[in-house]
Symmetry: C2
Subunit: 370 residues, 2 copies
């Protein structure tokens, strides 16, 4: 039958609409976004930056801009409530989004929080979730200004939109790195990934024997990195104080490798990262030993550290060097596609974007359970 509803006259109701079925896993998460949005052209003059960076940038008059970003967190995909306490989850949902605003070199100011929640959650559970949201609001002086609350047919879904405001000239994009720029990362990397390994291990032990108490002692640092990451709002302020204007910037949500490739490819450049410059906490090193893991792997591909990765002109070297917040881990090279890790032994290994990919991960999970 024809669709009777006018506008979409090729549609049919009550019928299978797509004879062709391409599985989502063929595209992956990034591929899917690109595929669905590649032909969209923005039309509003106030849209200074649409899809393709950590956040959208909207003109707000007189050289000021509004910076906006949304993220969605889904139970069973992004978090496991058997070890992520709801307070921590609320806090983390905030951090993930505030981090996107920081990655534009902007201090976040407001958030909207929407959630879909099933009836299996009592009111008290949502109170805990909101305690975490409010703790992040208090710490980073963020106003919760809106959102939506609705029921869900299954798990918990959180969607957070974060907003910041800045002078247009202070905004830093991903695609503006220059050849020869230094690649700088804040804090240390790999901790969130190792925290997840411990939680997964202790969950397995607990499932085996519920009377066993989880052995988390001594691993506070990496557990906090995983369960309660902090957005680097302080870095945005520090860069301003140091009078450093990064040439490009991104936050490390998917691992150093993937994020470096984003900066390089968007800027039509190559990148070199030096293994001996990678910043790691001693806890991460000793845990890698315990888990028999090469520490470079969680640093490059672990993800969820929510540090900032940026490039600076070499003339800013003096302002950056020796500051304990920063590690210069590499530099930008002229040829696009030329992405290398220079190992400790001096050998060059091609870098690839093994970012955390929710859709591929699902595929693998499905494979492993089928």
């Amino acid at each position: 039958m024809h669709c009777l509803i006018g506008y979409f006259c090729s549609m049919s109701l009550f019928e299978e609409k797509s004879p062709k079925r391409t599985p989502l896993s063929d595209l992956g998460e990034f591929g899917l976004i690109d595929h669905l949005t590649q032909n969209f052209k923005t039309k509003q003059s106030s849209t200074l930056k649409g899809i393709g960076d950590d956040a959208a940038v909207l003109a707000a008059g007189k050289g000021r801009v509004q910076v906006v970003s949304s993220d969605m967190l889904v139970e069973g995909v992004h978090f496991d409530l058997s070890y992520a306490p709801l307070k921590h989850l609320g806090y983390k949902a905030m951090s993930v989004n505030l981090s996107d605003i920081c990655a534009m070199n902007v201090v976040p100011k407001q958030v909207l929080v929407s959630m879909a929640v099933s009836n299996r959650f009592p009111v008290e559970a949502l109170e805990e979730l909101y305690e975490g949201i409010y703790a992040a609001c208090a710490r980073y002086e963020i106003d919760l200004v809106g959102g939506d609350t609705t029921s869900s047919t299954s798990g918990l879904v959180l969607s957070v939109t974060a907003i910041g405001e800045a002078d247009e000239k202070d905004i830093v994009y991903r695609d503006t790195a220059k050849e020869g720029d230094l690649l700088v990362v804040t804090g240390d990397l790999g901790g969130a990934y190792m925290g997840l390994q411990i939680l997964e291990r202790e969950k397995a032990v607990y499932q085996e024997n519920p009377n066993m108490q989880p052995d988390l002692q001594g691993n506070e640092y990496v557990l906090e990195r995983q369960l309660k990451p902090e957005p680097r709002v302080d870095i945005v302020t520090l860069l301003k104080e140091l009078d450093v204007h990064p040439t490009s910037m991104i936050d490390v949500s998917d691992g150093l490798s993937s994020e470096s490739l984003h900066l390089a490819s968007k800027s039509d450049l190559g990148v070199r990262i030096y293994e001996d410059k990678l910043p790691m906490d001693p806890t991460v090193l000793s845990l890698c030993d315990e888990f028999q893991l090469d520490p470079t792997v969680p640093v490059l591909n672990g993800g969820e550290d929510y540090e900032l990765l940026f490039t600076v002109n070499p003339s800013d070297f003096e302002k950056i060097k020796g500051n304990p917040n920063f590690s210069i881990v590499g530099h930008m090279t002229p040829d696009k596609g030329d992405y290398y890790l220079i190992a400790k032994d001096g050998k060059a290994h091609p870098l690839n974007a093994q970012g955390w990919n929710a859709l591929l991960q699902k595929k693998e999970e499905k494979k492993s359970t089928s």
Copy 2:
């Protein structure tokens, strides 16, 4: 055991955290939002309006403001893919959010769209969904500027954030109606609800016998009202042309009764609505006859019409009267809590907020299936 994660030292991992369990249905959707957000105080000077209206209002410098709103749509709660084609769903998700910006008397300009989607959807299904999103973008000159795409463990969840920009003096809030103001609604009401009744009926017929084709002929208008509602961006422009500045405004997502009560209670007033003034399409009247339903019921409590409901100073009467876009359905009275429908026979009936309540609806569904 103690939580080892510092900040939230009263938390425990791997343990049941809430000995008290209050079911969500005890609070309902509005009650839950109020309960979770009642003690939150905004701190940023740029937050002109936080939670409590159709959208948040953020200062953007020199008398300009940014208006932002988020909504979440959940499969099985807000839509049923057995009769809501994905294109229509994409379009409707946009309309619902754009309508919130219109309800502030602002023309929307940008959206961010996030979705969680299970592997049962092929890429082609999401292409259809985005065709609907892009159709709304094209029609209302909206830029899609961001969002997130992730996998879901079960159904489809959409979260849309809509943004508009305006002069601060043009913003219309919910809580600024005055005693004696006229209550005006755009378009006609009850259509979306009757469209849903038809779809539910035809779905039941189809499930009984899949060879039966659904009988939708003649009901195009109400089906379109349900499946592909339009945000009243045109009204924002028209009001400006007519030089009418409403004293308060809201969009009709939950039915005229619920929305009128919002305007009245937020403005500390009462409200009177006159049954003989309620605008209905002839299709709605004849369908109510067919379904043996009093047409006043879907108009007052049906919801999802996404018309605009606003109050104007009586001095604007001449500018409004006779315009086919507007129906003057009542007026604001001095006493808060004094909410009445004046029936055709002249009798006054108390109005109550039988808004569409996702959480209560779930409860009722649960009851009826258990």
